[in-house]
C-alpha cells in the first residue's frame, strides 16, 4: 500500500488548508526550524490513530488544534484526511482506495471516518493492526528512537525485538 494524499486543516501550525501528494520512492521534506516539518509527521500519526497526546508533544489531544498567533485567531477544530492506495490488498479491506479521516473539536470531542462513513477510533487502529503501522514500530524513526536503542536501558531495545517477533 502507499500513501497518496494528505489533507490538513487546523492541525497545529496548518491554519490554512493543505493538500500534499506523496509519490513512490523517497520524498524529502525541508524547511527552517519550527516551520512545520515534524507537524506533517504528527498529522500522519494522528490520523492513523495515535492515542497519546504526549507523543504529539501536547498535554491534551485538543492541543493539536491551531492555537492562533498575534495576527490570527485560534481555530475551533483540527481535521486530517489521509488517502491510501490499497490496490495490492495489503490492508484487510476490499477497498482499493481508502480515506481515513479524523477530526477533533475544542471540547475534546472527536470524529473518525473510513471512506467518509463514521467509525470508531478502534476501527482505524484495527485496520492497521497487523501491519505494524501505527504501533511503535518502523513507520516513524526519529532521533529519540535512535537514542533509546543505543542507551543501555536494554528495556527499550528488547521491546523492539519483541514487537518484531
Amino acid at each position: 500500500m502507499h500513501l497518496e494524499k494528505l489533507q490538513i486543516f487546523g492541525f497545529k501550525s496548518f491554519a490554512q488548508k493543505l493538500s500534499l501528494e506523496f509519490g513512490p520512492g523517497i520524498t524529502g521534506v525541508v524547511g527552517p526550524n519550527g516551520c512545520g516539518k515534524t507537524n506533517v509527521a504528527d498529522a500522519i500519526r494522528w490520523v492513523l490513530g495515535e492515542q497519546s497526546a504526549n507523543e504529539l508533544r501536547g498535554a491534551s489531544m485538543s492541543d493539536v488544534i491551531f492555537d492562533g498567533t498575534k495576527a490570527r485567531k485560534r481555530l475551533g477544530r483540527a481535521e486530517v484526511t489521509l488517502t491510501i492506495d490499497n490496490s495490492a490488498g495489503y490492508l484487510p479491506t476490499d477497498y482499493a482506495k481508502i480515506l481515513i479521516g479524523r477530526k477533533i473539536y475544542r471540547s475534546g470531542e472527536s470524529e473518525y471516518s473510513i471512506n467518509k462513513s463514521t467509525c470508531r477510533l478502534r476501527d482505524i487502529r484495527d485496520l492497521f493492526l497487523d501491519t505494524g503501522i501505527g504501533t511503535r514500530t518502523y513507520s516513524l524513526i526519529e532521533r529519540k528512537m535512535v537514542d533509546s536503542v543505543l542507551s543501555d536501558s536494554a528495556g527499550h531495545r528488547r521491546f523492539m525485538f519483541e514487537e518484531a517477533a
Binding site: 500513501l3 509527521a41 518484531a164 517477533a165
Partner: protein, 165 residues
C-alpha cells in the same frame, strides 16, 4: 513464544551484521544475548567495530558511529517485516557527508517496497530524493508547503507554491 523470539532474534542478528558492514565499509558488528539460557528476559548487547578498529563496547564509539549503528539495528528489525511507508525525522543529523551517502544508498535499496518520507536539513540527503517539499512560514506561525526543485547548476532551490484547494 520462546522459539518465536529466538528465531526473530537470529533473523535480526543476521540482518544487523549485514547492514552494519554495508553502512560501515569493512566494519563488523554483532548482537549477543547476555543470558543465552534465558532468552525471554535476557538483555541484548550490541558489539561493534567500525573498520579496522577492534570489536568493542558501544560506549567508546563516536556520536556519529553510534547513530549509524542504531540505524543499522532499527533497519535490521524493520527488515523482518518491512512497513509500506516510513517517516524519518532528521536521523541524518549526526552523520558526516560520506555516511549520509551510505545511509541514502541503503534507503534506495528499500525504496521499491517502502515509501520513505525523509525530513532533513542536510543538502546531500536533499539531492538524493525523488521529490522535495519545502515547508515555509512566510506568515509567522502559519505553515505552507511548496514544491522545491534543487537546481544543481545554480546550487539553489527554486520553489513553486503547491498544495492548495
Amino acid at each position: 513464544a520462546k522459539e518465536m523470539f529466538v528465531k526473530t532474534f537470529e533473523l535480526v542478528r543476521r540482518n544487523f551484521t549485514r547492514m552494519f558492514s554495508r553502512l560501515f565499509e569493512g566494519g563488523e558488528a554483532d548482537l549477543r544475548l547476555l543470558e543465552p539460557g534465558n532468552p525471554l528476559d535476557s538483555p541484548i548487547e550490541i558489539v561493534a567495530s567500525p573498520g579496522g578498529k577492534k570489536l568493542g563496547r558501544l560506549s567508546l564509539l563516536s556520536g556519529g558511529e553510534r547513530a549509524l549503528t542504531a540505524i543499522a539495528l532499527l533497519f535490521a528489525i524493520y527488515m523482518v517485516k518491512p512497513s509500506p511507508f516510513c517517516i524519518l525525522d532528521e536521523v541524518d543529523a549526526p552523520l558526516d557527508d560520506a555516511n549520509v551517502k551510505r545511509f541514502i544508498r541503503m534507503l534506495r535499496e528499500f525504496a521499491d517496497r517502502t515509501q520513505f518520507i525523509v525530513i532533513t536539513h542536510n543538502k546531500v540527503t536533499m539531492q538524493a530524493t525523488d521529490r522535495l517539499y519545502g515547508v515555509t512560514m512566510e506568515e509567522s506561525g502559519i505553515s505552507k508547503v511548496v514544491s522545491v526543485r534543487l537546481d544543481a547548476a545554480r546550487n539553489e532551490a527554486e520553489s513553486e507554491e503547491i498544495a492548495y484547494e
